[in-house]
Amino acid sequence: MGSEYLVEMENISKRFSGVKALDNMNFKLGKGEIHALIGENGAGKSTLMNILAGAFPSDEGTIKIDGKIRKISSPKVSRELGISVIHQELMLAPHLTVAENIFIDRLSSKGGVINWKKLKQDAKDILTKLGFGDIDPNARIMDLSVAYQQVVEICKSLSRNVKILVLDEPTAVLTFNEIQKLFVLLRNIRDQGMGVIYISHRLEEIFELCDKITVMKDGCYIGDYDTKNISKDELIEKMVGRELTTLFPKRNAEIGDIVLEVKNLNAGRMVKNISFNIRKGEVVGFSGLVGAGRTETMRAIFGADKIDSGTITYFGKEVVFKSPYEAVKNGIGFLPEDRKQQGILLDMPIRNNVTLTALKKVTKASVIRQKADKGLAESILKEVSAKYHALSDKVSSLSGGNQQKVALSKWLAADCKLMILDEPTRGVDVGAKSEIYKIINDLAESGIAVIMISSEMEEILNMSDRVYVMRRGSITGELPKEDLQDVNIMKLCVGE
């Protein structure tokens, strides 16, 4: 019955206050297909999906669902057509339980009374069916890891007759084996004849998971390809429209004396007996699963969280930073993993963000010297090749990659000697990624010690001089450059 396609979007165009976001875009999703939608940040992927989700209408073009032309005038219509979009920002009520969240719109069957026993059993059934029987339906969402929150979100969609599942960067916060579990789940869904639209920047995952790939660029349709018939390099070229010589540029840094030596550090439940060191000009990777305690370790060193015991030696002197203020004063920079919550001031001008850590440099008797302030911001933004319209624009007006560059700029302005980067390329497109790697290389080459927490295998393998792997709050191993292989890291991550 019907067409062989679940979704056919044809000649879709959309303008936002005069700016063309989509221009004659085409997209087709077959039945029983996992279809990747890729393109650089700002290529219009989200706009296209928002049209499918009924967030706003397209200016031109037609949408067929299951072969019939449909007008998706509201999110409600979209849901009724069996479309479910899982956004990066999850739509869950953090204080409610897993079961309540899954059945949030039909908690009660009779007269407004909730049958808790049945509710929990139903939730348990769905979770078990999808291979996540270890999630407790009674757990509150806020107590779950982000990965499990995402699983709950998917369960929520699947429990209501979804035919078309759209996932926007679902793996950004997941770890290796969580990703594998998600993939099993998605393949499962596919084999039941549903369609999955998968938006991601991670090409290796796309090649592993997806059957077809549609590439878009600047709001235009570039083409769709069978995953079997295209190589990664070809794909990147199609996305950026230029050939990327290499994603990971070469580095020529001289590795010098020890900058930071941490011994037997304990802090809270997530940091147990951590010992490691890092040298001048070195890039040390920290690998591990989400929740392995990497961020917590760095926060403790940076003075953001309390230290219980252990010693930190910084440039030969034993130190304890009681607050980020003390750490920054001593030349440590910290790029947090959660950009929007911790890394940048979204609603503030770009300029205020860049010079936030360096206000002393641009003030005289705490009065801001406008020229110095502007000059410093401009020169650093140029250094990181950030693209922006005006310094007075809000950071929220920038793309993810450029936001991250602004967050980095702040620390470049502060003249750090040790830089801690927590997931520096999360949610950043391929072009900006390569540029961020170049910035990291520049930092190392200028003698700065760089700690890089990353959950992306390729990034860890290609960027690090050495790697520490953490698992459940402890360091499970240290890998020198010559032993850097994904199997070795994986083994340490899962504790084999």
Partner: protein, 323 residues
Amino acid sequence: MKTDAKKYSNSITEFIKKYNTYLMLAVCLIICMVISPDFLTLTNLFNISRQYAALTVVSMGMLLVIATGGIDLSVGSYLACGSVLVAIFINSGLGLIPAILLDVALGLVCGTLSGVLVAKFKMPAFIVTMAMMTIIRGAAFILSNGSPIRTPSNTISQLGQNTVAHIIPLLLVLALVVVAIFAFVINRTSFGRIVLATGSNENCVRLSGIRVNYYLIAVYAISGLCATLGGVMAASRTGIGTPLYGEGLELDAIAACVIGGASLSGGTGSAVKTVVGVLVLALIGNIMNLLSVPSYPQDVIKGLIIIASVLLQIFTSSKKETA
């Protein structure tokens, strides 16, 4: 042609977006001038300025607190207690200047206390300043025994009656100086920038190596100081200090900030626009007085106008679009 017309209408909405606070003031002004011929007389205007100088100063302190994402409900009590204390100090034989300085210093200390509770102990600002509101109002009643305290006519009331260049009220000049200082601090100093940044994203500012707590404590301290200074100004108009001053004043100060475009979630705030907010409130009050509207309907109308003005801002502020 068509695109020209569109451009034209676009630039009009842009203009309204940018200057909506000022437009609101202009509308109030025009209405005032049309309704009452008495409005545009110097006597009336200077009367208004004397009457609202204290609120202007109080609003400046409130603006800083709101810019960090906090709120200070205790300003009305500070104003009352400030008026009582300055009267007591003067009656005890202290000179005018030492009395005022001692008074505002006490305001600063109490404000610091609120700030410490908010910043160090992470108590909600609403709760801390609400408690402070009753504590300080209570203290004002205790100190004054519940009755107005008169001062000799040649002391503090001089301040309220004095003029600069024989015509401009001293209180107006004082308020303008305070506004100028705040405008400078907010726009041109690292203090102002960090205060706004804290309201925008406190976590980010803390992780950028800035001692956020110092700034949080400072804004409540400054708000205490400003509100106490407001008390001095209120006492100077009548020569009386009374614990009854400033009832509900915190709401006027908050309203002035909000009409001036400040967001209660923090991160925004302009001193000049807040003055415009005060002026809008002042004009609404004045015109209703000139028309002899009784005071209960006045409150209703004032509330409605505050809602209308904030709605106007919401409708004209740029809508978020997803790209």
